[in-house]
């Protein structure tokens, strides 16, 4: 029986989660790269939104949520959304099947977009598209099936993942590590300073992520209910504790609280509370988020010691945060919050912790080798990395023939334009942009 309130809530939450990818994540990452790569970085998130939206309606949804085959994968019964209509489904009894499918689509979109931070500033766009399509099909869809679909083996095992800690964050964080190792360091890393070019963009992006995450987590209740309110509360509390955790850890250990650190801590807090938000109360959320913020700060700091170039810290935030979130769910989960869940270690059920650990290990065991194979395929077909020259001139120019900040008002630029005819004016501007991009 379709419930109008539930349906309205899930549809709105779907739009919230879209906002997380574009422009939330796009700006969060876009501000952290150097100026000459900002458009390419923004576009990777936008392109994931477009590409996976189509993949999902063609066959992705069916592979992830379609009728089960051996606990491992959905079949093609629901390909092209055959039979996915306006009536309810077995996944959610009070909302249209299409609404459930759309909500899940936005999760499938953001997960590969999260990985882009690991290979920022050096991946060919064609390689990115092919990688994203293959990764969504071969890593995300099976994993979503294992954890969330009827018959999925991790779901049957009793692993708790309310809104995607393993499926979304640990899978992308693990794959990010493999990507960073396979594609190699950016030219000049770590000797050449590569500071973020526009942290205000990053903070706007982090704010939009925080906002959208209410849809991601509270929407995962799939109903407008007390459970959604609980998830909403845990989400906000976890994000706040994460922001403070990172900020104070950085303040104590590095001397200054930073804007980038506080924003990163909020995102880390959101990551770690994601699997737990429907199973824990606000006090547990403070503990999970606060530890998560400090832990992810430590992980990002450790990166510079280990020497791999996970450019925007996907491993440190989503990988490490994903592991802590999944395990913390096994510690803090409480049936008094959600009767459909389970008790964690602190509520007398140590077995749940081990189940969560299994889910973590299984996720890593799927994502790491599969990502490696996909990268090798992509490299053989189109080559994953741009040339050294293209990397130096920037992806915006070399991959897209665009310049993000072609602000008018340069005296020299005006005199070049006005001296030439209409057709030549365009050529002149192009030449100016090349000069700017290379400069």
């Amino acid at each position: 029986m379709i419930d109008k309130g539930d349906t309205a809530w899930v549809l709105i939450c779907t739009a919230f989660v879209l906002l997380m990818t574009a422009p939330g994540l796009a700006l969060f990452y876009g501000g952290m790269v150097r100026q000459r790569n900002v458009l390419a970085t923004l576009l990777q998130s936008f392109a994931a939104l477009a590409l996976i939206s189509i993949q999902w309606v063609l066959f992705g949804y069916s592979l992830a949520f379609g009728p089960d085959h051996g606990g491992l994968i959905g079949g093609l019964d629901w390909a092209f959304l055959r039979g996915v209509g306006p009536g309810p489904s077995s996944y959610a009894a009070t909302i249209p099947h299409q609404a459930f499918m759309l909500f899940q689509m936005m999760f499938a979109v953001i997960t590969p977009a999260l990985i882009t931070g690991a290979f920022a500033e050096r991946k060919k766009f064609a390689a990115y598209l092919l990688f994203t399509l293959l990764w969504a099909t071969l890593v995300y869809d099976p994993l979503a099936h294992w954890v969330w679909a009827e018959g999925g083996f991790l779901r049957k095992l009793g692993a708790l993942d309310f809104a995607g800690g393993t499926v979304v964050h640990l899978s992308s964080g693990t794959s990010a590590l493999v990507c960073a190792l396979v594609i190699g360091k950016r030219k000049g890393y770590p000797k050449t300073p590569m500071p973020p070019h526009n942290l205000p963009l990053t903070l706007i992006g982090a704010g939009l992520l925080w906002f959208g995450w209410f849809g991601f987590n509270a929407g995962s209740a799939l109903e407008a209910s007390g459970l959604a309110a609980n998830a909403f509360l845990a989400t906000n509390t976890g994000a706040a504790a994460g922001a403070l955790g990172w900020m104070f850890a950085e303040w104590m250990l590095r001397g200054k609280p930073t804007a980038l650190g506080t924003a990163s801590g909020a995102v880390a807090g959101l990551v770690v509370i994601t699997p737990a938000c429907g199973f824990v109360g606000p006090m547990a959320a403070i503990a999970i988020g606060g530890v998560g913020g400090a832990l992810c700060f430590g992980a990002c700091h450790l990166k510079s010691k280990l020497g791999y170039d996970d450019s925007l810290d996907v491993v440190g935030v989503h990988g490490v945060g994903g592991i802590w979130g999944a395990l913390a769910t096994g510690l803090f989960a409480w049936k008094a919050i959600n009767g459909a869940g389970a008790d964690g270690l602190f509520h007398g059920n140590p077995g749940q912790f081990w189940t969560q650990l299994v889910a973590v290990l299984v996720t890593i065991a799927l994502a790491a080798p599969m990502t490696f194979v996909i990268l090798k395929i992509v490299d053989a077909v189109v080559g994953i990395r741009v040339s050294a020259d293209d990397e130096a001139s920037g992806l915006d120019l070399s991959q897209h023939s665009e310049n993000a900040y072609a602000l008018s008002g340069s005296v020299v630029g005006e005199s070049v334009s006005s001296a030439a005819g209409n057709d030549r004016m365009r050529t002149g501007e192009g030449a100016m942009m090349s000069a700017l991009g290379k400069g």
Binding site: P190, P193, M194, P195, P196, E250, R254, G255, K256, T258, L260, G261, S264, F297, C300, H301, L302, K303, S304, D313, G316
Partner: protein, 112 residues
């Protein structure tokens, strides 16, 4: 004629400009520049990464003045730009061979 070139703290620009005006300097050129001397750069933190930024933002003030004003101008800049800590800047003085006011064609001191 002499050209006075002063590298100063950005925060002292208004004081230096007023001091130059008050001793009769009628025009000047300023530019935002970067560099370092005894005052070294600063540290920036981005997550795990720590960058040492060597070049410190400064302002360069240039004014061409007639010979008998040079001593007063230097004194005025020194007083206005000094804070007493590292990084107050430097003043250089150059010979100027000729000056021309483009609008009227006046030459030398008349052009200043």
């Amino acid at each position: 004629m002499k050209k006075i070139e002063a590298i100063i703290r950005p925060s002292r620009l208004d004081e230096v400009k007023d001091a130059l005006n008050s001793v009769g300097v009628s025009g000047m050129t300023v530019a935002e520049v970067k560099g370092f001397g005894r005052q070294k750069g600063h540290k920036e933190l981005y997550r795990g990464a720590e960058y040492i930024v060597d070049f410190v933002p400064k302002v360069k003030v240039e004014a061409v003045v007639q010979d008998d004003l040079v001593g007063q101008v230097i004194d005025a800049i020194e007083r206005a730009a000094r804070t007493g800590t590292l990084g107050d800047g430097k003043i250089f003085v150059f010979e100027v061979v000729e000056a021309v006011r483009v609008r009227t064609g006046e030459r030398g001191n008349l052009a200043l």
